[in-house]
Every structure is written in structure tokens, then in C-alpha cells.
Amino acid sequence: MAAIPQFLINPKTVVIDPGHGGAGHMGGSDGNHAVSPSGVLEKDMTLDLSQLVEAQLNNFGGNRLNVILTRDNDVNLSLAARANVARDNQADIFVSIHFNGFNGATRGVEAFVRPAPGNVNLADDTALAQRVLEAAFRAIHTRDAATNNRGVKRMNLGVLDDTALGNTPANHPCRACLIEVEFIDVPAVDALLNTGPNADQVRREIAAAIKNGILDDLAVHP
């Protein structure tokens, strides 16, 4: 491990949330949503990518960076339970990882934050989302120019609820966003991320990009 960067002099906690999991519905969370043409489930892709991000963050930060997954196997948790992992560990950052799907043609990467009122961290959340989104978009665009940067959007997402994350107007330590990493129902995306000869490497590059986005954000909040 390289020398500890200045922004990790004070240890930080990052919670990564692999979307979905298990089967059925659990407090606002469905077992799975998107499915790729080759049959790969979004819930498996979110867990795989989250574990790659976790490994890369651990590799960078060692014991100065406490990285926690909300799930590390095929189980579903309610949206509140996922956010509560951040609250209970006084996380600095919470990133929920999802993949999208709609009509088999729409492409792109997008990130979401909760709108205000109802989000005491809107500006900081937006900055985090922008960093993670830009990094992930560049990683995918390098491999496939057909992707799009769909931007940072605001949506009432249960997993980004202030109270569940442990944020109050007086004390709001946790910056949070959700990223939708491409539309996996598009055959070209399925090949890029699942079935193509470089799929493993591409997923590692996306994980590295998300890691870099998180580290960039930690660096401005030492």
C-alpha cells in the first residue's frame, strides 16, 4: 500500500449497497428488476460490481478506509435496512449500485440524489453523484462510445432517505447517491459487461472508476 493520503488521516467509512437480492419484495426493495438478454440478473451484477469496488477501496485505503457492503450474498434487505447500515456505522459515504433496463435500446449511465426538501445534504450529494457518474461514464465510454451520460437527476428514492441514513439538519455526516450503471437489457451492453471477451476487465475498470469517484469526494471532505 502507498503512503496514506492526507484525506485518510482521519479514517473514513464507505457503505456500498448492491441493489436488490434474494427473491420477493422486502420493504420497498424487489428481489430483482432488470434482466440481460443472456439471462444475467441485475441483482447478481450489482453484487459483483459492489464487491469489486469494495476490494479496490480496501486495496487503496487499508485500515484507514472502512468499507462495508449492505449485503454480501443473495439476500434482499428493505430500503430502510440498507440505509441504516450507513447510519449505524456513521458512514461518510453511501453509494447504492444498480443497473437499468427499459426497452432494449435506451443506453447510458445516470446517478440520482434525493431532492430537497427532504435532503439536508443536497449540494454535497450532488457533488458525490457527479464524481461517481463522470468516472463511471468515462470508463464505459472508453470501451463503448455508444453509451450516454444521462446526468445527475433528483428522485424520491427510499434508500436515500435522510432519517434512515442518520442525517439530521443538525448533524448530516453521510453523503449519498444511487448510480444506474447502464441498461443491461441492451444486447451491446450485455456483451460489454457479461458475455464479451473483455467483460471481466470492463467490470473491473468500472469498479475502479467508481472507487476513484468516491476517493475524489473523500479528498474534498477530509
Binding site: H33, V35, G101, F102, G104, E110, F112, M155, L157, P187
Partner: protein, 125 residues
């Protein structure tokens, strides 16, 4: 005699108007349904899942069936507290609302269509 003729003419007009309205409404209600957003997906998810129910509603054969199925989809999948899980859920629920709105307009049920349009509030006003 003149009053009798006027009443007869008015009754004839009302009957004609009813026939035209019926003629306009009946064929559209039975008309084949072609969705705008809900194209068949390349997966076969079971009923009860968001994707499975979306595909099921999108496969409706008539406007009448589409109205019933989209109503059921929205009843089942619109998040109770207005809090979404992710963009996948949001885009499918909003697409379902647009599909149902369009079905109402095609069936001549403008008020019901307008009700959904106001709920979707695409301009965010």
C-alpha cells in the same frame, strides 16, 4: 303542427347524435391496442414481477383490456409512499401511467385521461 314538427326534428337530431357517438366509441373500445412505450421485452419474467406485469399489460389485445391491465399494474406497482427503489421502477410506473392515459383518450374518456396527465405532471408545475 309546427311544434310537432320541431319536436320531431329535435328528437331526430338527438337520436342521430347518439348513434354517431356510439359509432365513434364502440369501434375505438374494441380497437387493437398498440403500446407506445411497452414494447415486448427480450426476457420472459413471470407475472407478479415489475417486468412481467409490464409485459403482460403491454400485450393487451384491445383498448378495453389495456385499460384494465394498466389499472392493475399501477395498483400493484405504484409505490405506496411515493418513494421509488430505482430508476427502473420509476420509468416503468410512469410509462404505465402514460399508456393508461393514452388508452383513456383513445376511448374518448378525456376526463380520466386528463386526471392522469395532471398526476404525472410532466412539466413539473
Amino acid at each position: 303542427m309546427q311544434i310537432f314538427r320541431m319536436v320531431k326534428a329535435q328528437t331526430g337530431f338527438v337520436l342521430l347524435a347518439c348513434m354517431v357517438l356510439l359509432a365513434l366509441q364502440q369501434p375505438s373500445a374494441r380497437r387493437e391496442y398498440v403500446p407506445v412505450f411497452a414494447k415486448p421485452s427480450n426476457t420472459s419474467e413471470p407475472r407478479g414481477t415489475l417486468q412481467g406485469d409490464f409485459d403482460w399489460a403491454g400485450r393487451s389485445s384491445s383498448l378495453t383490456e389495456a385499460a384494465a391491465r394498466w389499472q392493475e399494474f399501477i395498483r400493484s406497482h405504484y409505490p405506496a409512499n411515493g418513494e421509488y427503489e430505482d430508476d427502473f421502477e420509476h420509468s416503468h410506473v410512469v410509462a404505465a401511467q402514460f399508456e393508461l392515459m393514452r388508452v383513456y383518450y383513445l376511448r374518448g374518456q378525456a376526463e380520466k385521461g386528463d386526471e392522469i396527465l395532471k398526476k404525472i405532471n410532466p412539466l413539473g408545475l
